[in-house]
């Protein structure tokens, strides 16, 4: 009995212990997955908020672009910004997202169209990821409208905005970012680093803008008969400044949000982003001060954007001092780039979109090869990363500028890309939309 009793007790204990072990285990698993779920939920909240901030950049672009152009084309610019995001949203959902993040055929993704395969009533990550990626695509699309402002036929622009979000942006995106979901791309495979999209988003938009501005030709009166560039001042610098503040604000979603993870990287990336923007604004202001005797307000605004675009690629990979340097250089670069396109190449880009997004996007991507604390040339990493970055930058240019020229040329030859001279003089607001932006205001339209 004793033995039995003891044995029984021991067995009981064993049982208890094993029971505990089991309980412990399942409980452990359970708690572990619950904690994972929680972090996952936090990531979703963060990524969603970041996506909303990036969406708000649409307002920023609309304000900057309309502020830097004439009053008679304001309705048109608002409409273009509204519609490129709207059309972009729909086609990116239908086609683009799948091309970019679906299982890849080596060149682009082939699944996930219309978010197929995702539970239509569930809480899947894909949903949050889709909205985040949609607003990125929309950013790329809307860059172009500034460079083509004040002379583009509205219907032609709609066609363009369909193609960028359905095709041009997502395919390139799949090369660099496909593996963020189920895709994979040759650029990311060779080690191309573009954390939040200096190239993927901004340069793609910028080079398309360049193609558009070239195919369109300059606005009437932009160049004197003997080829001198003339100033066509923007009509509302208050709006433009508001737009830049909104963009800067939105960029805190753009860059830190690209972690899609709610943790301490957010703060670090916010710091590099903010420093680069500040340095860009300062550098542009002083550069324009030296170049043209006075600190040009429109240049300082462009400078902040230049810093933001440039830091976008490396925001997670460079030190704060590195970000200061990148922003500062971008701020100088953007001024000379604007001068170069405007006066030397005679490409009429009313808001400086090509310089800000194309040129500074490329610069920022290359700068990762120099300033990355891991692998950057200045940190002892040699030229390897820089070379890879250059490949990415170049392929973006070839892809976007090449397709852009083709696309705009085809539009020009079919439905038409430019409004009539008469309509351009009177303003696209009346010509394309039958209304004025500032009804009742006395506005000189001598220019």
């Amino acid at each position: 009995m004793r033995k039995g009793k003891i044995s029984a007790l021991i067995l009981l204990l064993l049982g208890l212990s094993v029971g505990f072990a089991f309980a412990q285990e399942t409980e452990g698993v359970d708690i572990g997955s619950k904690i994972e779920d929680l972090q996952n939920n936090l990531n979703i909240v963060w990524t969603a908020v970041a996506a909303f901030l990036v969406f708000f950049m649409q307002a920023g672009f609309a304000m900057v672009e309309s502020g830097f152009t004439r009053a008679k084309n304001t309705v048109n610019i608002m409409m273009k910004n509204l519609m490129d995001f709207s059309i972009g949203t729909v086609v990116f959902f239908l086609i683009g997202f799948g091309l970019m993040f679906g299982a890849t055929n080596g060149f682009f993704g082939t699944t996930h169209f219309v978010l197929a395969g995702t539970n239509v009533a569930g809480k899947d990550w894909n949903w949050t990821f889709l909205i985040f990626q949609t607003v990125f695509a929309g950013t790329s699309a809307t860059i172009v409208s500034g460079a083509m402002a004040e002379r583009t036929k509205f219907s032609g622009y709609l066609v363009y905005s369909l193609f960028i979000c359905a095709l041009i942006y997502p395919v390139f995106g799949s090369w660099a970012w496909g593996s963020l979901l189920d895709g994979a791309g040759w650029l990311e495979n060779i080690g191309f680093t573009d954390f939040a999209g200096s190239t993927v988003v901004h340069s793609i938009g910028g080079w398309l803008a360049l193609a558009g501005a070239i195919v369109l030709g300059p606005r009437i009166g932009k160049y004197t008969p003997d080829g001198k560039a003339r100033a066509i001042p923007g009509h509302n610098i208050a709006l433009a400044a508001l737009g830049v503040f909104i963009l800067w604000f939105g960029w805190f979603g753009f860059n830190p949000g690209s972690t899609t993870v709610g943790d301490g990287d957010i703060g670090r990336i916010a710091v590099t982003t903010n420093l680069a923007a500040a340095a860009g604004a300062i550098a542009s202001m002083f550069t324009s001060w030296i170049m043209s005797k006075k600190p040009d307000g429109s240049m300082a605004l462009n400078g902040a954007l230049a810093g933001l675009v440039a830091i976008t690629a490396g925001c997670a990979n460079v030190s704060p001092l590195g970000s200061l340097a990148i922003g500062f250089l971008a701020g100088i670069l953007v001024v000379f780039s604007v001068y170069f396109f405007d006066r030397t190449l005679k490409v009429d880009d009313p808001v400086g979109a090509v310089s800000v997004h194309g040129v500074c996007g490329a610069f920022g991507t290359l700068a990762v090869g120099l300033f990355a604390t891991e692998g950057g040339l200045f940190y002892g990493g040699g030229f390897k990363l820089f070379g890879i970055q250059a490949v990415g930058v170049l392929s973006a240019f070839v892809w976007a500028f090449g397709l852009g020229l083709t696309l705009f040329f085809v539009i020009k030859k079919t439905i038409g890309l430019r409004v009539s001279a008469e309509e351009e003089l009177r303003g696209l607001d009346i010509g394309e939309h039958g209304m004025e932006a500032y009804s009742g205001f006395q506005i000189f339209t001598t220019q």
Binding site: R230, A231, D296, S298, G352
Partner: protein
Amino acid sequence: MKLIIAYVQPERLNAVKQALYEREIYKLSVTNALGCGQQKGYHETYRGADIEVNLLKKVRIEIAVNDSFVEPTIEGIIAGAKTGNIGDGKIFIHSLDECIRIRTGEKGNEAIG
């Protein structure tokens, strides 16, 4: 009756009005104008491109007066507008055939004041 047109610097408008009040000229009309005169305008650059501003902001004052008020009006305008600098402005005077007060239908000298 005369119609007196004066172009003056915008910031002198209040002083002109003041000076005219003192001379008992209470009625006038003002429009916003741009002027090109001896004052050469200025050069600026906007985004690196040259911009020549040679139409400067002016204010156009129009005053209809009876003949006896022509002199005080001119005096008043000059008193208010003159700073001695280029750009101070000009006064033009021509004769008026008729003047009608819409509210009452009064005509001529009676309507003007």
